[in-house]
């Protein structure tokens, strides 16, 4: 069944907006405001690439998939500075305490934020008749890279603003066979 065809763009928009706002408000104590939907986001490929005048910002990217009647993968992009702020808030640490713990703590915190965000999104899919399960999170780090989906996947990119930091969700959903 071509399941993803039955999930309208409006629903995807609502589900991801609710997921990001809910997770960041509850766990990080910050309002996330949707600033760009897929149409506007297409004009601004993410993450920004390194240029002669503007160095690329280091990114921490969490990834969690969902498999079942609908399959997909969501990338959550945070610049490193914001990733560190979120980690401090989540774990109740100061920046200097975090500095003593290393990158692994930040990776784990962003992986969990991604897990929660994709969890809320996926639960909405389940409750509208598309049962699926979460996969284990993973983390990418880099400053000048671009993810290119296969041609059979649909893509929805949303930009959020959190305290002046850009948070981007890149949703890839594949048509079921």
């Amino acid at each position: 069944m071509p399941a993803t065809q039955e999930i309208s763009d409006v629903r995807i928009h609502d589900y991801i907006k609710r997921a990001v706002c809910d997770v960041f408000k509850t766990m990080v104590g910050t309002e996330a405001v949707l600033v760009k939907g897929p149409d506007e986001a297409a004009a601004e490929p993410w993450p920004p690439q390194h240029t002669a005048t503007t160095p690329a910002k280091p990114q921490v990217v969490g990834t969690v998939g969902f498999i079942g009647d609908v399959n997909g993968l969501i990338y959550l992009y945070l610049d490193l500075e914001f990733a560190r702020i979120c980690t401090c808030h989540l774990l109740g640490m100061t920046e200097s305490e975090l500095a003593t713990h290393g990158d692994e703590v930040v990776n784990d915190a962003i992986a969990e934020l991604t897990n929660m965000t994709v969890g809320v999104f996926k639960n909405s899919l389940c409750d509208t008749g598309f049962p699926c399960k979460l996969t284990i999170p993973s983390i990418l780090r880099g400053s000048s890279f671009r993810i290119v989906p296969t041609g059979t996947a649909t893509r929805h990119v949303f930009h959020f603003d959190c305290r002046g930091h850009r948070l981007v969700t890149d949703i890839l959903m594949k048509f079921a066979d």
């Binding site: 509850t26 980690t87 989540l90 784990d108 969990e112 897990n115 809320v120 899919l125 389940c126 284990i136």
Partner: protein, 385 residues
């Protein structure tokens, strides 16, 4: 008693958040990164609550929960799911395996604490060291006994303590009582019909709120097989009928971890007073003796150099009492403290009958004993040295 909470989650972040959430409460947090580790720690530590994630490597939460519920020794441990898996159908499927509650991520720490608090009795961890409960503090005692005369005997016998002794006659009433106001100690009669007492014991032990409550078995002295069964099952103490209320009170104080030293020792501004009660059973003597070193140290630290040993309430003198008195006198001599004895005619007469105590001299009151200090010589000290 500290509760143990096991958090099973592959995310270190979640485990840290859980640890942070419960930091202000008197509980120990154990951690596992997957279901295999979770089962191993659960079997070893027997936690009072498990917080369980679903999506984990090696063994996921659903498999761990299924194995836990299939294990007779572990199935009673309450499990609360803490997971991003919140789809209606999945939640229902997991709930059917047997969970006490379900928290969907993202979550507020307050919500987690509120739900955990419904399963275990979370007590805030005060910053100052906890005050040791004393024999003069109130306590709530539940007696489960279908013979009103026994309940009344216990109530009468313990009346001099600030303890509230309540009697119920059935298992149902006992369960209701414990759910309403968890008592500090439960006494269950083994003569309740149909082995109700053993069933009640098991129910109280599987309930996290009464898991660590001392439970005494009340049994007729000649019913040895019942006593054996109660011991095997793990009752905190066996109390036999006919009741020895002094022994019962002593066992209860010990089981509730009460400081009973104030019964025997009091520190006044210039003098340490040691008092022995009317009936000095072996357990009373042992209890009194166990505090002696500490009380003398406290007296010396407080600049006190005089001791009054008051045995005027004592009914009869016996070798156990004499040994304890010699022990106290010896400590006084070692510390260079003056001491004086207060007695009653019966005890004074009995002292004349023993070679070692014949020379002891007594005063009639604390004031008289205090007044004797500073005078040239103390008669009792002659005997003690």
């Amino acid at each position: 008693m500290r509760y143990k909470i096991l958090t099973v989650d592959d995310s270190k972040t979640v485990r840290i958040i859980v640890r942070k959430a419960f930091k202000a409460y008197d509980c120990e947090i154990l951690e596992a990164g997957n279901g295999v580790e979770g089962l191993a720690i659960a079997a070893k530590a027997m936690p009072d609550l498990i917080l369980l994630d679903v999506t984990m490597p090696v063994m996921d939460g659903v498999e761990m929960l299924t194995k836990l519920k299939a294990d007779a020794a572990l199935k009673a441990i309450p499990v609360m799911m803490l997971t991003a898996e919140g789809g209606r159908d999945n939640v229902l499927k997991i709930a059917k395996i047997g969970v006490r509650d379900y928290v969907v991520k993202p979550f507020k720490e307050e919500a987690l604490l509120e739900k955990a608090g419904r399963i275990i009795d979370l007590k805030p961890l005060s910053e100052a060291p906890a005050k040791v409960k004393s024999i003069f503090d109130p306590a709530d005692i539940l007696v489960v006994e279908d013979k009103p005369a026994i309940v009344q005997q216990i109530q009468e016998g313990l009346r001099h303590n600030p303890w509230k002794v309540n009697g119920v006659s059935t298992q149902g009433e006992a369960i209701d009582y414990c759910a309403r106001t968890p008592p500090d100690l439960v006494i269950v009669s083994l003569s309740l019909p149909d082995d109700t007492a053993f069933g009640l014991f098991r129910l109280l032990r599987t309930n996290p709120k009464s898991k660590y409550t001392p439970i005494f078995a009340l049994v007729v002295k000649t019913e040895l097989s019942q006593q054996q069964q109660a011991q095997t099952l793990g009752f905190s103490a066996i109390v036999t009928k006919p009741l020895d209320l002094v022994e019962l009170e002593s066992k209860m104080a010990k089981a509730m971890n009460l400081d009973t030293s104030q019964r025997y020792y009091s520190l006044e501004p210039d003098v340490l007073i040691i008092r022995l009660p009317e009936n000095c059973t072996p357990s009373v003597l042992a209890e009194s003796s166990s505090y002696m070193k500490h009380k003398f140290s406290a007296a010396v630290d407080g600049g006190i150099s005089k001791t009054v040993i008051d045995i005027h309430a004592l009914k009869t003198l016996h070798i156990g009492v004499i040994k304890l008195l010699f022990q106290a006198m010896q400590v006084c001599n070692e510390l260079g403290m003056q001491f004086a004895l207060i007695g009653n005619p019966q005890v004074i007469a009995e002292c004349k009958g023993f070679e070692d105590t014949r020379a002891w001299a007594f005063f009639d009151s604390v004031d008289e004993a205090k007044a004797s200090f500073g005078k040239a010589q103390q008669p009792a000290q002659l005997a003690g040295t």
